[in-house]
Symmetry: C2
Subunit: 681 residues, 2 copies
């Protein structure tokens, strides 16, 4: 049993992480939630978010059952159970994170009525709950599932090494479970958040001329719910998937017979990740501000602290414990690539880039669109060169295992990244509550300043999510290749070329579907909001209450309905290619999807972010300020950018990883069915 | 000498084609050019177009000399001469086509004053001059260069087969010459045409409120010149490049030792292309209409006739002459894929797709952009699946040679396609002349109907250009692989993966540059037009003439200046990747550029076309018609679409082929320099 102790360590650290979450949550809940009006609004958001989650869970449950049956009968029984458990763990992390985030908003607003510093002291820990939940529950669940399967396999296999190798093969199911939840969280959540946003604005701001976050607007609660659904639950599920995917692909590659089975390498993946939780948690304590200092700097300090700690620990683990400094370079390359992607995103969504878009608004909306698209396209270069360099460095130093180590390196500080990212919607909601509860200009101003930082961190977070999705999908692809015993994937072979081309169009199709889905879902809310303004007497005068929950309900229903087709497509496409054209074509298909999917995701995120900030730049009083023609042109850019950056772009992360993990898990079935098909002709 | 007779056949048919061009041109020039006013306008367009061409030729000459020197001293002397000759041939075809097209416009307008049917009888032959010039001069030039090199080599080589194999290697230079001219024609021309269009509209329509094509606007001539520069010369050079590239890649692959040197296969490439000229020319005679019938049908009839004739001839050549029916399937797969790409483009830029965009204009410009982008993204699926299937079919039936045969099959009817495409700007210009010369509503109406058909054929033509670029670039990539003795390109190798990723971002960067270039170039014309309205007294009142040639001059200068950076990039990028990361990474790079470049090009072309037609649909009186809010929203879509479909999209065709042919030609130099670099470290 001796060589299983790293699993116990990772489980232990997972448990410690969960205890830390519990302490953070208790501390937040002990804070003053504010006036009755504030509590009432916060409760509405909380209940709306929970209503979304529960309905989403119901849909997930149905799909989980179907996939479980397929896995159980056609692939492998233990893989099937691991799949269910993976989905359950992701759902738990999302639930805990959401329920605390939606209770932190009114407490943040109330703290802002005292001081700016106190407000951060609620909002950031609120986000940290989500971040730490993702990594602790993820690692604990994965380790537990792994250990259980090993213990069962030990009775069936000749020796412990074989038992571990078998267990690694089955643990891929856990990763697929995480992917399924991420699909619902990111795609469904992405459609929800933008449909609610557009719906609320179109009737409220445009038709009725009432301000944003006005309590009379029936869709305002749905809009606030959307921020949490998209940026807390969606982002959390996305990074949960990346985190697990990176670890699992590393384990699969290490346990493959080529070049040699390396059980210590399997354990190394778990140990680096465990140390990542420690690094993230310590980093959280570095986020401290006082009244005068820039909170952005505090967040950056926390990020840097986590990264440095991780690098030190990874060095110790790879050199002292494993005895191979080459592996350290692989881990480091991923960590650095992740930071490059994040900071490039920040560069292209602020400063000069944003100013050129704002300037182009002088000649109307068309030039805003052209300029923003061009900047988004340009912003793809550096992140992808960063990923390419990380790939070469990690491969040269540690072979194909290095690619996975690089992904693990990037994702080890997930706890910190998600914390920073989930902070955004809490601050955004707090600003909304301050407005709706009429807390006065001073509080509103403090809350808005908190929110503004959230916008910058969101850009970094989105970049990080894309970068991590790219590296994870790449690692999963390599794991797929190992699992399918595909040593060579010849890009001069026609089936591989066809796979590459077809894989390359899937991200385009998926984006198109996601964007059109937002339009249709938004339209259904517009109708409902119009109906309420027409039928509820005294609503416009502020004498009657809107039926907010109805709006939440309609948006939820439509968002989940709209995500079905793209969701099914992303599972069936790789299976169809594999079964019809074979295992090599599927390899090409996965690579092709990455080649177009990653730059598209970067472009959509950065164009969207840049348009958003160009509008804000004009609203700050530049180029004529609010109400000017330039402002109107910039609003068009922002509206186009919304589904780009919050729906289509982030959904691509999921698509890429999901297609790779589905291919990995279904390798045996694909091989069998393709053989059957070939024998028919 | 016996086995060289196919070269003489292809030369002979090239000569016959040129005679046909001469007859067509004489017939057109014998038609009535109309009133003095009309001649004056036509002359201005003609002179402007020629001014653009000559300045472009000067820039080309400089680059040709530089590249010649590099090829001569570092690669191969005969390749260097072939390169210069290839550039010269492309320039000649462009010059002949342009000079007839810009003289057909007033004659078409004058014919339209008599009957609709007569107008087509001038406009279509006007386009056919360009189409037939491209293929006849292309094939004659290529065959002549090939024969000359063989004759020289025969004295140096042990036997005739070796002489031919050596000559094939050198003939790739001819293809690169064609690529260089295409770069200037398509990218420079693309920037020119949109800069002039935007410049003319921004001051004329928006600031001064005068109608389109108003003779008082100093940029109107530049705008009309732009139509010819972009859609006649640019399209011609683009397809000249594809045409030559496809034939050359087929010859290179057939002459490679792996699987075996196949001189008869080399000749087959020439013979099929020669038969393609015959098919296209006969097809041109099928384009006949009478007053009642739909001219669109006449054009389709011509296309179908050419395609059917080509298929019959290809069958005879492959089966009877070469003795291998498998090759026929490869040729046919490309021909069919080409038609699919064209018709899918037509589907997505008309009918239902356009109506949904028009409908989305009711909710403002943002939804127009989102909807149009989504439709463009969706439209990528079928063309690329068509290309993927053609690749598999051609490979399965005829191996890697099949990929080139497929491209040759698609491009054999280039003569017909370019004829149909070049017809568009002639009709467009005729409508402009009818307006400027005040020829009355009846003539104007006939000319506009001619123009409307031109818009549909333009969509098909753009689709065909992209499809052919994709297949040609793919064939050139395979030829590159053969030339670099790269039997396997392992997409699991990190350098190949890095190459794939980096190759995938180049189209994004290139698009961004092209779009921003249009903006800058347009701005310079806006300033000039404003200046003329300010300084030329009586211009607005119609009493003074504008200085049109100044506008042409400024646009030309700026367009050529702006294309320099993207142009240099597309040559240096592949060289840098090859020298630094090696021959495998460069292979990955070329494939990566295709994986993103082809869907991007399709998306940009179809989004742009659909926006254009959605605007026209509203202008026909739907959804409130001209001047409504919906119309204004649709104008935003059209303005965004202009650089998409006429600059960035078509430029990608060139980028993909140019990078592939540069890699092919420079293989020896890249191998040497990469070796040198590696030995340093």
């Amino acid at each position: 049993m001796t060589n299983l102790y790293p699993i116990f360590i990772s489980m232990g650290i997972g448990v410690l992480g969960i205890i830390f979450v519990w302490i953070l949550a208790k501390r937040i809940l002990s804070k003053d939630p504010g006036t009755e009006k504030m509590i009432q609004i916060s409760n509405a958001v909380h209940e709306g978010a929970m209503a979304f989650l529960f309905r989403e869970y119901k849909s997930i449950a149905i799909v989980v059952v179907i996939v479980f049956v397929i896995l159980f009968f056609f692939v492998d029984k233990k893989t099937a159970f691991a799949f269910v458990f993976g989905a359950l763990c992701s759902v738990s992390a999302g639930y805990i994170g959401m329920s605390i985030a939606t209770r932190s908003n009114c407490r943040t607003a109330q703290a802002a009525s005292r001081s700016y510093n106190e407000a951060i002291g609620v909002a950031f820990p609120g986000g940290a709950v989500m971040g730490t939940s993702v990594v602790s529950i993820g690692l604990l669940g994965l380790s537990l599932a792994f250990l259980t399967i090993i213990l069962i396999e030990k009775r069936l296999q000749p020796d412990q090494t074989t038992a571990i190798v078998e267990a690694v093969r089955m643990i891929a199911g856990f990763s697929m479970g995480a992917s399924l939840v991420a699909l619902f969280g990111r795609v469904g959540g992405g459609i929800y958040t933008k449909a609610a946003d557009v719906g609320a604005d179109l009737v409220g701001k445009v038709e009725k001329g009432i301000p944003e976050d006005d309590p009379r607007n029936p869709a305002v609660i749905a809009d606030n719910v959307g921020d949490n659904v998209g940026d807390v639950a969606g982002m959390g599920a996305d990074l949960f998937e990346s985190y697990i995917g990176a670890i699992v692909s590393g384990m699969v590659i290490a346990a493959a017979p080529n070049p040699r089975i390396d059980i210590k390498g399997v354990m190394l993946c778990l140990l680096i990740s465990a140390w990542g939780i420690v690094s993230s948690t310590i980093g959280i304590f570095f986020v401290r501000t006082d009244e005068k200092s820039d909170p952005q700097k505090a967040l950056n300090k926390g990020m840097t602290a986590s990264a440095v700690l991780l690098a030190i620990g990874a060095f110790v683990l790879t050199v002292s414990w494993y005895g191979n400094i080459q592996f350290f370079w692989a881990v480091l390359s991923g960590l650095i690539a992740g930071m490059i992607v994040g900071y490039v995103a920040q560069y292209y969504t602020s400063g000069k880039a944003v100013a050129t878009i704002a300037n182009s608004s002088k000649t109307g909306p068309a030039t805003v669109i052209i300029q923003g698209t061009a900047i988004g396209m340009k912003s793809t270069a550096l992140p992808i060169i960063g990923i390419a360099i990380a790939t070469i460095v990690s491969y040269k130093t540690a072979g194909i295992f290095g690619v996975a180590l690089s992904a693990i390196g990037m994702l080890s500080i997930t706890g910190m990244t998600v914390a920073v990212d989930a902070y955004g919607p809490i601050a955004d909601n707090a600003a909304g509550i301050a407005e709706m509860a009429g807390m006065g200009p001073e509080v509103r101003k403090r809350a808005e300043k908190l929110d503004a930082i959230g916008n910058t961190t969101a850009a970094i977070g989105k970049g990080f999510a894309i970068g991590s999705a790219a590296l994870t999908a790449l690692a999963l692809f390599v794991a797929y290749g190992q699992s399918a015993r595909l040593d060579i994937l010849n890009a001069m072979d026609s089936r591989v070329v066809a796979g590459l081309f077809i894989g390359g169009i899937v991200p385009f199709l998926f984006c198109a579907m996601a964007m059109q889905a937002v339009g249709r879902a938004a339209f259904s809310i517009v109708e409902e909001v119009r109906r309420q303004f027409r039928e509820i007497k005294g609503l416009m005068e502020g004498k009657a209450m809107p039926d907010s929950s109805k709006c939440v309900d309609i948006t939820t229903k439509n968002a989940l309905k709209e995500m079905m087709l793209p969701g099914i497509m992303s599972v069936l496409f790789p299976l169809a290619i594999g079964i019809i054209l074979g295992i090599e074509a599927l390899g090409g298909f996965l690579v092709g999807s990455l080649i177009t999917g990653v730059p598209l995701a970067v472009m959509l995120a950065n164009s969207g972010g840049a348009w958003d900030n160009a509008k804000k730049y004009i609203e700050e009083g530049n180029l004529g300020g609010k109400g000017s023609d330039a402002h109107k042109a910039s609003v068009v850019g922002d509206t186009v950018g919304d589904p780009y950056k919050d729906t289509a772009g982030p959904s691509l992360n999921i698509l890429l990883k999901l297609m790779a993990v589905v291919s990995l898990v279904f390798v045996p079935l694909i091989l069998r069915l393709h053989g059957l098909l070939m024998s028919l002709f």
